[in-house]
């Protein structure tokens, strides 16, 4: 099939679970709080630098923007798609990475429920190939959807012969 000169990759068709947005927001809030607390300790308790009034305000504004913008952006970007011959994922927010791997080269399918993800009923599925740089991860999937995806991928990958290197 000839690819036309103005060929572009479309986005993958499936989105991750909307609860992932909540998980990312809460993780970002915790990270921001830890960072602010660390800076407060550094200046108030240990006196590493003099605290001006605008420092926490500025930092707070930056972190607040991050907490509000990043989860929504990431939810818009994180997508995935599985066809009969390939797996296609898109991840990131500022720097976006799209990965395509053929079904015939899949070596393992991993299902991971992280500590935080478990609270929200989410899980991630990682598809590895023979290349260390070619692993595809779909994070923030609903747990049941993730399990179904793992089964689907295992069946499809098994049906292709070869040692996948």
């Amino acid at each position: 099939m000839e690819t036309p000169a103005s060929a572009r990759l479309r986005e993958p068709s499936q989105r991750v679970s909307p609860r992932a947005r909540l998980m990312w927001t809460i993780t970002a809030v915790v990270q921001a709080a830890v960072l602010l607390a660390g800076l407060m300790v550094a200046t108030l308790l240990w006196g590493w630098f003099d605290l001006r009034w605008w420092m926490p305000v500025l930092l707070g504004a930056v972190l607040a923007t991050y907490v509000v913008v990043m989860p929504a952006w990431r939810y818009a970007v994180h997508r995935w798609e599985v066809t009969g011959t390939a797996v296609y994922t898109q991840t990131g927010w500022w720097s976006i990475e799209r990965r395509i791997a053929p079904m015939s080269r899949i070596q393992t399918v991993d299902y991971v429920e992280g500590v935080v993800a478990r609270f929200f009923g989410l899980a991630s599925v990682t598809v590895t190939t023979a290349s260390a740089a070619g692993a595809l991860e779909i994070a923030g999937l609903d747990r049941d959807r993730a399990r179904a995806l793992v089964d689907e991928l295992t069946v499809q990958a098994d049906s292709v012969v070869g040692d996948a290197t």
Partner: protein
Amino acid sequence: MSDATTSELVHDEQWQRLDPRMLLVHPIRELLRFLPVLLGLFVAGTATGGNEPWQYLGVAIPVGLGLLRYLTTSFRIHAGRIELRRGLLNKHVLSTPLDRVRTIDLTASLIHRVLGLTTVRIGTGTASRSDDDQLDLDGLPLVRARELRRELLQRAQPDLVHAADGEGEAGLPATPPERVVVRLQPGWLVYAPFTTSGLVIAAGILGAGSQLLNLLDLWTKVGTATPDVGASPTWWLLGPVLVVLVVAAVSALAVVGYLATNWDFTLSHTRGDGSWHLRRGLLTTRETSIDDGRVRGVSMGSPLGLRLAGGRQLSAIVTGLDRSQQGSSVLVPPAPAAVVRRVADDVLGTRAPLTVPLVPHGPRARARRFSRALLPAAALSALLVVAVAAFDAPGWFVVAAVAAPLVALCLAQDRWRALGHALVDGWFVVRSGSLSQRHAVLATDGIIGWNFRDTWFQRRVGLTTLVATTAGGRQAYTALDVPEDVAVGLAGAAVPGLVEQFLA
């Protein structure tokens, strides 16, 4: 002891230990590993007025560990599989089908060579990085190890072997002829100081030197002497002489390092079982055998210094060797460019990939090369100027502030010239970089998948970075800053049927 007529691969089910001479090697190695702890123990012992037994217990533990390691490691070749069992507390059984063996590496350190032993490392193409998953037979006699290697490689390509020898004698085919492709030449030593390892040695020396100066409190003397730099004639004499001495010392060390690693470097090819053999090393000798079918391409590296001296280095992209074994995939150490190209053509079997003109990536990619080099340089210059103006830094900072953008300009131009890609005859070719330039040729059937990576800045100008993932070498080969439609077209042409279904 096996005699020459018994095949290594025909053994009964008994687990066999490694060579008994390893009883000498393991304790010594453990002692060396525990040396810092032991020294500490002895120092502490003499300081507190000596509890004699505790110190000797300290020596006995590593020796005991070494003995245990020998006693608890055993292997067997049985039912078409090779199995290795080791561990005292955590028992590890590693098992591999003989047909899955891709590469075989024979490494012999100084102790091993003195005793006539070698370590056999078997690579199966696994992406596992853990040391525990390496199938290492640490301590086989050299003759046995070579025989094992020959037979394992024969299994990988049985049809070719039967066609090559007309003997028909079961179990004992004639040794196929080995064709030497390249051998170390004395003239290559010239290239030793120009590689990045030379720079690492220089950095090490600088670090050690400054430590020494620190120790002898010479920094303060240097500091007080600096204001007189313009005035004092001795500095004008001493300075260049010192620089020349340092450069000479670094070069000598680099040459010694090059010799130690590449002594008797020989690359040869056997047509019979279709494999490449690499042999090199002075103190630690290394013999690697790579099955033909696992060589998926080559990567020609030309760091800036080496390139200016007219040299290149070549390594193979091999599945079955992970990054920690990169040293086993070197095809040619730093050597004249003509030699490297000849060997590359030999390995690839065709001249096309390295001679085809590379497609440039367009004006927007060029603009990005320049902006990415000039912006940090401009920032650095601004900082230096501010330092001189506001904080009374030495005057030569201004010189550096002027020089930085010029250097950046040259760097950007070199990077732009090097950037390009091509797709020819089933080979995917990419080149990029200036300080560490790499020209990679990858077989398209070795490409597993594609990654398209772009930052917000790249998306704004319609560029993307295309990465071809593969099971060998550096695992991923990158075409930087390619226009997106070109990237998609390239991916579709190189691996048909994968990317087309996701087009807009």
